[in-house]
Amino acid sequence: MADVAFRGATKRFEGRPAVDHLDLEVADGELLVLLGPSGCGKTTALRMVAGLEEPDEGEILIGGRVVNDVEPKDRDVAMVFQSYALYPHLNVERNIEFPLRRRGIDAQLRRQTVHEVAASLGLQELLARKPRELSGGQRQRVALARAIVRQPRAFLMDEPLSNLDAALRMQTRADIVALQARLGTTTLYVTHDQVEAMTMGHRIAVMDCGVLQQVGAPHVLYDRPANLFVARFLGNPGMNVLPATLDHPGAHFARVDGGHVPLGDDGAGATGQAASLVVGVRPEHLALSPSGSLEATVLLVELLGADVHVLCQLGGDTKLVVRQDASAPRPAIGDGVRIVAATGSVHVFTGESGARLGGPG
């Protein structure tokens, strides 16, 4: 086991950076989730740790040692591929055993280790099958087994759940978390699914266009997003974002389409001399109320079991989503409604860079 670190790691493809001066440390035993939209460079970052891509600039460290010049086979990290990359001509037992055969372990011990790992993942019955005779979830577990069997210094997982159906994904998510906690192996987990990131990660690192946006515990990123990108990316639906203006610097209300929202002390103090502002409110901090300060028209009402998402149109083309309990009275499409934002729930960002100026937390 070992910590993993990026020091200014940069990888360019055809001149364009896929990962841009990434500085990030994964502590020993930590499960860090690398989160970002498709094409933002998550896989590239992971592959640099594995040694499958060579950084153009910067360093990769494993266990405090720079490994830029170490071959993948000598890095002692295990990777779970999105495609699982099982060897199609070998049965499950041989697949799991494969990494052990290179380590001078005698056959007896190898067999025993393989059986233990297989049992811990519920694969005992499948040992004789070929990968093509397995379901997606079973293949996924074989890939996991192959990764953990040799007790590597770190796990690298590239969207290992993306080929599973929703129910199985939830189950496997929990399994991976439990497994990681049991083994205590440093894990770098890549996903574009913010729910996975929120539920699994000790910490989350959000990337966009190859650039690291924010690193922190899930609740920190959710409650205090460093910029608009993180604010919108986390949460489902993401944070409502409204262009805003102030009557005067330090005002306690920000004008937005359809009315105004309260900034609270933190927000108001942070606005300074900013020329253009954007405010953000999470759907759960909004409510329909006759005394609300925002005027809107209901566009869509979505019932999701316990929750209801009400999509509203403010003046102009600003839209926002209000989350309600399913028990609350539900508006009809086309209704005129008023919306209230809870005090101290409004985040303030600059209009130019989208960086956080202030807000709750």
Binding site: P72, A78, S83, H89, R103
Partner: protein, 290 residues
């Protein structure tokens, strides 16, 4: 209404059934014609080898040997030294097949998985060798072999055929089918190129290997011109095809005996085809059915 529609659908079904039967009949008819065309020469050779010399001249030749002359085979075998020739052919073919498999696997792997300067250019050169007929290089090759002192040796018989553009191309294509992920997973599992090649790439390319093996076996076994040029009498490395030619020239000089020898020389190929049939078909259709 109900019975009507059932009738209609029943009729449709039977019409579809008869069309399918028709198509099947046509397909089998075509296959039968193909089989006859391919097998007739073989059959005629076999029958003729069993006919007495007098019957050979009959027109049309008999389609069935009423009085099979099995001793022709014994004559061919002993007078023609076919045992020695067959052994030589087996050695020559074995060396060529093994050589081609090894060099094609290594070169194909390099073109598929390694990155090196001039990779594309080199591959084009490899492909270009496919366009050069063997006859063009015959004279130079003969000269080279004799300068190396390899005239009348197995080295002379086989070395020029140890590497092939076709085989390299075939295996490169097979290796390219292997997902990159597998190579990367193996490299993280601690496997370098050679071990990955032996444990993963070669087993996965087995159909292509089998096809290459069979084709190179056929080509090597049936070689005539090259063995004729680089072998002479004495020392005995001549192959069975040359042996057959000589059989016609000896005092035996009987067509039926020569044909018996031909049948003996063809037997190994038939055995190979029967044994490897499944692999061959699979390799030939591998690209088509995915």
């Amino acid at each position: 209404m109900q019975p009507d529609s059932r009738n209609a659908s029943g009729e449709r079904r039977s019409r579809r059934g008869s069309r399918r039967r028709w198509r099947l009949t046509a397909r089998y008819a075509l296959l039968t014609i193909g089989a006859v065309v391919v097998l007739a020469p073989l059959y005629l050779t076999f029958v003729s080898s069993l006919l007495p010399p007098s019957a050979l001249a009959e027109r049309p030749p008999p389609f069935f040997p009423l009085d099979p002359q099995w001793h022709d085979y014994a004559v061919a075998w002993s007078q023609g030294d076919l045992g020695v020739y067959l052994r030589n052919s087996a050695i020559q073919t074995g060396i060529i097949v093994c050589g081609q498999l090894v060099t094609s696997v290594l070169a194909g792997y390099a073109f598929a998985f390694l990155r090196f300067p001039l990779r594309r250019a080199l591959f084009v050169v490899f492909l270009a060798t496919l366009m050069i007929p063997f006859e063009v290089t015959l004279v130079t090759n003969t000269q080279t072999i004799s300068e190396l002192g390899w005239y009348n040796t197995f080295a002379g018989l086989t070395v020029p055929f140890l590497a092939t553009g076709v085989g390299t191309f075939l295996l490169r294509q097979a290796f390219l089918q292997i997902p990159r992920d597998l190579r990367e997973a193996a490299s993280l599992d601690g496997y370098g190129h050679l071990r990955f090649l032996l444990r993963i790439a070669v087993p996965l390319a087995r159909p292509a290997l089998a096809a290459l093996g069979v084709f190179s076996f056929l080509a090597a076994w049936n070689q005539y011109l090259w063995p004729l040029v680089v072998t002479g009498s004495g020392n005995g490395v001549r192959t069975v095809q040359i042996g057959l030619k000589l059989l016609q020239g000896t005092e035996v000089s009987r067509t039926d005996v020569a044909l018996a020898g031909t049948v003996i020389a063809v037997l190994p190929l038939l055995v190979l085809l029967v044994v490897c049939q499944k692999q061959l078909v699979r390799s030939l259709t591998a690209g088509a059915v995915k």
